[in-house]
Amino acid sequence: MSFLLACPNCGVREVSDFGYGGEISSRPGAGADFRQLNAYNYFRRNVAGVQREWWFHRSGCRAWFIAERDTRTNRVMFTALPKDVPPGGDSGPAEGPEPKRLAVS
């Protein structure tokens, strides 16, 4: 029970409802050498900032979807089924910190 995610099918749920599938990476084609394959299998960008990643609604509709999240704040920018994901976003520049406002009084 930490941050919330919106499953594109079911709506907003606690993060504990979901399985995490890790950052999106591209699978090397058949011509890749062993080193490239292992880079794909084991190495992650692990960005401190906005990344696109896989999530699975394990406790609900059991669908995979994609979220864009800031790993520094856990703020989720959007979630979408793979077919609905807007282009771009891949390792784009990290956003600034969360907007703050002055306290009342």
């Binding site: 029970m1 099918n9 749920r13 606690e14 409802d17 609604h57 406790s59 509709c61 059991r62």
Partner: protein, 213 residues
């Protein structure tokens, strides 16, 4: 050769995974539509009272369930002929209701190419009914079931008692919990534990039908 083996049409008696717990709680059973169904727990009047004043729970695992795969064309949960038609995603929907209320092979959207899989015994189910029903569910489920978030006639897939499940709001004070067949015994224990503490109790089919009327 296709999916005949998923069909429940045997001359044998079909049983809910919670049958033994219901029996231990004093259930009186009758075979209806091939299912062993808890009709009452020896005191139908008291059971109706529980449903009016607190929260009763009834095993409704015998309800028939079909999964529709493909373009089901459902925009939201609808009630057709006593069955609930519930879209889960744009390619998947669940239809559930009494055996007699289920669509025949040709009754799914005729123009849509929909594949149907019988999933009756994939999901066991409990109906919670009564003014405290929502409070009972709140003891083990994080879903927002307030009327403004989950109006009557909505389906909410999500974690129920730390297990994958769904909640269907059938009425103002009536919720159906759907969950895996194999966790039936666990779920009964959880619901019994929470509901009993709030003055609830198990109720049979008669009390449920009384509430429908």
């Amino acid at each position: 050769m296709s999916l005949e083996f998923l069909t429940l049409d045997a001359p044998a008696v079909a049983r809910s995974p919670m049958e033994r717990q219901a029996r231990a709680a004093g259930a009186r059973f009758e075979v209806r539509d091939g299912w062993n169904v808890a009709v009452d727990y020896g005191a139908p009047e008291r059971e109706r009272e529980i449903c009016r004043t607190a929260a009763g729970w009834a095993d409704v695992s015998h309800l028939a369930k079909l999964e529709l795969q493909g373009d089901h064309g459902l925009a939201g949960v609808t009630r057709r002929g006593g069955a609930w038609w519930c879209p889960v995603s744009d390619r998947r929907a669940l239809v559930l209701g009494a055996r007699g209320s289920m669509p025949g092979p040709d009754e799914t959207e005729p123009e849509a190419r929909v594949h149907v899989v019988e999933v009756t015994s994939n999901f066991a189910a409990l109906t919670l009914i009564g003014p405290l029903a929502r409070e009972v569910v709140a003891r083990f489920c994080a879903l927002d079931l307030r009327p403004q978030a989950t109006p009557v006639g909505s389906l909410r897939p999500g974690s129920v008692a730390r297990q994958p499940g769904m909640v269907l709001r059938e009425g103002e004070h009536r919720f159906m919990l759907l969950f895996g067949w194999a966790i039936g015994e666990y779920m009964w224990t959880v619901v019994q534990d929470a509901a009993t503490h709030l003055g609830g109790g198990p109720v049979g089919q008669s009390a449920l039908e009384g509430a429908d009327a």
